[in-house]
């Protein structure tokens, strides 16, 4: 590193330490840029892959009101994908490059979306637990040191918080419904609880990128801190629903002022990341198919825009 760069990096670190925002045209260390591109694009991919498990129930939503709410919700996720791809583009990567990385398996997305949505109650559980866990992770990002990401997250978090409440409402209706509906709700909680806890990532001791991200004010709280917060928030909500969290080790610890909970099956977590989850192949295949099937449409739009541009240029030439 040259002396000039050392100086820049020191100034950057000091600037970030003062809680100031880095903007696209500011100097930033390469590693900071790379970390953000990785994180924001993964986040964007998670939003659009995340449309699939919930989109799976739009056609079968059990009432017109529920259909409209679910469709609006999945549409919001597409909007989040757009803000986030745009935020990542400010760092010098294109949406096409990011999509290529997703489609070739180079880029990851949140592993939670590799689980199937098997009943209508999963629409409740996903909103309540998965969006709930996502909010825990995402609210601190509203204060992230990178301005465009932080601003995108303010909007994302507002909508996610609405999603979480609607998910809880679906669960509440089921929990207070017929015995079959209540059983459906319990079954969904059983299947989504542990994968939701895994959404916070590995235990702090095994989290490779955390320390640097904390220093850069990209990450504010550790994985285990956020996971604990989520458990503490969710247990009373499950009690309100009259549902049982599938963890025999879950109990209030007076001394810690937190709930203790059982060990997470990390073997499953790493296997789902590696591609062995129940829906990894389907999810990626659905994204690739949408992209490939849409190629002729995007080409047509580009060709038309080019023709219009040429016509305009021609008209200007003649006018001159």
């Amino acid at each position: 590193m040259s002396p000039v760069e050392m100086n820049l990096e020191a100034r950057f670190d000091a600037y970030v330490a003062e809680e100031k925002k880095i903007e696209p045209k500011d100097w930033m260390p390469d590693a900071y840029r790379k970390t953000l591109i990785r994180q924001i694009s993964q986040h964007a991919h998670s939003e659009i892959v995340g449309m699939l498990p919930e989109g799976n129930w739009i056609s079968r939503a059990p009432s017109l009101k529920r259909k409209a709410i679910l469709l609006a919700k999945v549409q919001d996720e597409a909007g989040h994908g757009l803000y986030l791809y745009s935020a990542a583009e400010t760092l010098g990567v294109t949406r096409d490059q990011m999509l290529d990385d997703l489609h070739t398996g180079k880029a990851k997305y949140s592993s939670i979306f590799n689980y199937p949505t098997l009943t209508w109650a999963d629409m409740g559980a996903v909103g309540w637990l998965v969006d709930g866990a996502a909010i825990m992770n995402q609210v601190p990002l509203c204060k992230c040191s990178y301005g465009p990401y932080a601003r995108a997250m303010v909007r994302v978090c507002k909508e996610e918080s609405f999603h979480q409440r609607q998910g809880f409402q679906v669960m509440l209706n089921l929990a207070q419904g017929t015995p079959e509906q209540k059983a459906m709700a319990q079954d969904a909680l059983n299947r989504w609880w542990w994968p939701s806890l895994m959404m916070f990532g590995p235990n702090d001791a095994d989290s490779p990128h955390s320390a640097q991200s904390m220093k850069w004010n990209i990450k504010r709280f550790s994985n285990d801190e956020l996971r604990q917060r989520f458990v503490d928030m969710t247990v009373p909500q499950a009690e309100l629903l009259g549902l049982t969290i599938p963890d025999p080790d879950l109990k209030w610890n007076e001394a810690r002022g937190h709930y203790d909970f059982g060990d997470i099956q990390w073997e499953e977590f790493y296997n789902v990341i590696k591609g062995n989850g129940p829906c990894n192949k389907e999810r990626l295949a659905a994204r690739v198919k949408a992209h490939e099937d849409g190629a002729w449409v995007r080409e047509a739009a580009n060709a038309y825009a080019q023709k219009q541009k040429a016509k305009k240029a021609d008209a200007t030439t003649h006018a001159a």
């Binding site: 449309m51 079968r60 409209a68 992209h291 002729w296 047509a300």
Partner: protein, 252 residues
Amino acid sequence: MTEGQHLQIILRLGDDALVLGQRLSAWCGHGPILEEDIALSNTALDLIGQARNFYTLASSREDQGRDEDQLAFFRTDKEFQNHLLLEQPNGHFGDTIVRQFFFSAFALERYAFLSRQLVDAEVAGIAAKAVKELQYHWEHAAQWIVRLGDGTTESHEKVQASIDHLWSYTGEFFNADEVDAAGAEAGLLPDLEVMRKAWNASVEACLAQATLTRPEDGWMQRGGKQGIHSEHLSYMLAEMQVLPRTYPDATW
């Protein structure tokens, strides 16, 4: 126009909106570009909203204790009276856009009339909101017709084939049965011959701009308005209605 016919007109308006809304919502997560996932979902949401308004109105008029969901989920395909075009499968993006283009040109004119008529103020109220939505649906579809028609050779051929295929489902819009005739005579519905002219003018202007060919008017499919559907509707309803029919005592 009898009370029964009046009710049937409201239900038909709801059925058109719901069937197309259900079809379009399947694009959410599968569009050719993220912006289109959003646009098509928006359109679907508008249509589902329109259907809910018409069903709720029908429910208050018929006095049988059937709410919007009973009308949507507990009627059979024979009882649905949507136009056949709307239940046709999504196909590729061009098929979907052509279906939307043909219907929006029709629905925009129809809602404009419905919003102005003085026979049924509640229908006029629903239509006044819908007409703004349809203006956007029409523009969105028409712009894509132009892009696809005047885009690449491949897109031109594909969308021309969609137009040729779906053309035979457009005659039903203007083929008045006795319910349409009674509605028009009472002043609630537009004269379908007037609608035909307006529709042709909008569609032909856009096709010309898109360098696409308007097919000749040949044999036109019919039957949707009388409950005689294509093979597709029954599958669509089976999927849409599965939960309420499996758990008829549940509320969601």
